[in-house]
């Protein structure tokens, strides 16, 4: 019995040492699991969602983490992302309120996948599903402003984003400038006046005043400090 009592711990230690050594050898041979390169099968989200028995949101999270790994793996290799748009569609259908797959997914599609149409479609779907979130119309505005250089489309989306709660301070400023650039000086003036009235920030106040003066002088009606004082409460 004593001999048997000693044999088991000895075998246990030997097994542990053996498994550790084998794991190290497998690592050297590159036998570890490869980084995720894609999905063998991505089901249609509308069929998948009911089958998840109420765990659709956590499934969307796990798929989003896999998407990030997928993008990382392909950025380091072939820089091709054939399944990205479909995977993002599945993740956002499973959880339409999950903002990050729309925002970062659109960036991946646009700048890595070179699929601008898919990126815009994704952001538009997100904006429709989350009408109270400023981020998605903001990103659409940025896309049209920077990539397409379509001021009227950028204005359309930024104007929408500027009315939503939590939007950044600079958005009304961007909207006012775009109105001035698209030749709608009256609306631009109104927006600068509104910004001047509502902002608590001294820099923003002086900027708004400067723009008001610039617009007025550009349209043949220079605004003095007193006049602006009477106009602006």
């Amino acid at each position: 019995m004593k001999r048997l009592g000693l044999t088991i711990p000895v075998l246990l230690v030997a097994s542990l040492v053996g498994s550790t050594l084998l794991a190290a050898v497998l690592d050297v041979r590159g036998g570890h699991a490869p980084a995720p390169r894609g999905w063998r099968f991505l089901p249609e989200a509308r069929y998948l969602k009911p089958a998840l028995l109420g765990f659709h949101a956590v499934s969307a999270d796990l798929l989003w983490i896999q998407i990030v790994q997928y993008v990382g793996a392909h950025v380091e290799t072939d820089r091709k992302f054939p399944q990205l748009a479909k995977a993002l569609d599945v993740a956002t259908t499973l959880d339409p309120y999950f903002i990050e797959p729309y925002r970062f997914g659109a960036l991946y599609l646009l700048y890595l996948g070179r699929q601008p149409q898919a990126a815009v479609a994704l952001l538009e779907r997100g904006a429709n599903a989350n009408p109270e979130r400023w981020e998605l119309p903001h990103d659409l505005g940025r896309y049209y402003y920077l990539e397409v250089r379509d001021d009227s489309q950028a204005l359309r989306w930024w104007e929408r984003a500027a009315t939503l709660p939590g939007r950044p301070e600079y958005l009304p400023r961007f909207v006012a400038r775009l109105y001035a650039r698209t030749g709608r000086a009256d609306t631009a003036l109104e927006l600068w006046l509104e910004l001047y009235r509502t902002t608590q920030d001294e820099y923003m106040k002086s900027l708004a005043l400067r723009e008001i003066e610039r617009l007025k002088s550009a349209h043949g009606s220079p605004l003095t400090a007193n006049e602006s004082g009477s106009l602006l409460p």
Binding site: P50, L53, G54, F55, A57, V58, D61, W64, I65, V68, Q69, D95, Y97, F98, I99, E100, R103, F104
Partner: protein, 254 residues
């Protein structure tokens, strides 16, 4: 008093079960593991932690409810301890009610532990705890109470293995009833609609007790619907426990 004594005894018996601790430890490890998982995500960390935490409470709570619930009555019959119980001056319905409440107490202790873990993590991550999160956990607990009542019902007339299969099948069906009705309305003929409509009301509608999306995304919760869903669960649980009592009352232990 007799019901309370049986409930406490069932609770003591359940907390001695090693499987309970295995499930609980695994759930807590999973909860803690979610903080590591979010490090490989891009954005949405708070959401992922809450989603994973709520899923952990729901999945592991269901496992506890099923695997402890199926043995509530059948174990007593198998071990023949039921004879000493029914020979005592207690009613059979008291025995069933006591057993059910004992397991609900066990579930409450487990869900409270897991909920504390999740609320603590949410607080560490966000610096605040949304009341919606607490409400979602309460509704998960209600769902677990319903699953326990299902397991108890099957435990009164079938073996533990069959009870587990039946309970898990109804758990799955309970999450699909709304989709089943939608499917019948869209694609079904008159006959399938007629068959599915009573089934829709007979099967538990567990999607009514799912407030996870509202908790995680801070979506609006309709007070009236929430109260009605709460009452629905209570009525359904009462029906299941009463059915278990009726079946147990009819059983012959000679």
């Amino acid at each position: 008093m007799k019901v309370a004594a049986i409930a406490l005894n069932a609770f003591r018996e359940a907390v001695r079960d090693r499987i309970l601790y295995a499930i609980l430890v695994f759930a807590l490890v999973m909860l803690a593991g979610s903080t590591i998982l979010v490090t490989i995500s891009v954005g949405g960390e708070e959401k992922i932690i809450k989603d994973l935490g709520l899923a952990c409470i729901s999945i592991f709570g269901t496992l506890i409810a099923v695997f402890l619930g199926i043995g509530l009555v059948s174990k007593e019959i198998e071990k023949r301890t039921i004879y000493s119980v029914i020979s005592k001056p207690i009613h059979r319905y008291q025995f069933i009610l006591g057993k059910y409440l004992g397991l609900v107490l066990t579930l409450l202790a487990n869900v409270a532990l897991m909920a504390l873990g999740l609320i603590g993590l949410a607080y560490l991550w966000e610096g605040t705890v949304s009341p919606r999160l607490v409400l979602a956990i309460l509704f998960i607990f209600l769902e677990l109470m319903l699953v326990t009542a299902l397991a108890l019902l099957f435990s009164t007339f079938s073996s533990p293995t069959l009870s587990a299969i039946f309970t898990l099948c109804l758990f799955v069906a309970g999450h699909l009833t709304a989709d089943l009705r939608l499917f019948a309305a869209r694609f079904g003929g008159v006959l399938s609609k007629a068959a599915i409509e009573p089934l829709y009301f007979l099967l538990p509608n567990l999607s009514r007790l799912n407030l996870k999306d509202q908790a995680v995304h801070s979506l609006g919760i309709d007070g009236g619907t929430t109260i009605l869903s709460f009452l629905y669960a209570i009525f359904y649980i009462a029906a299941l426990v009463l059915a278990a009592m009726a079946i147990f009352h009819q059983r012959d232990f000679q």
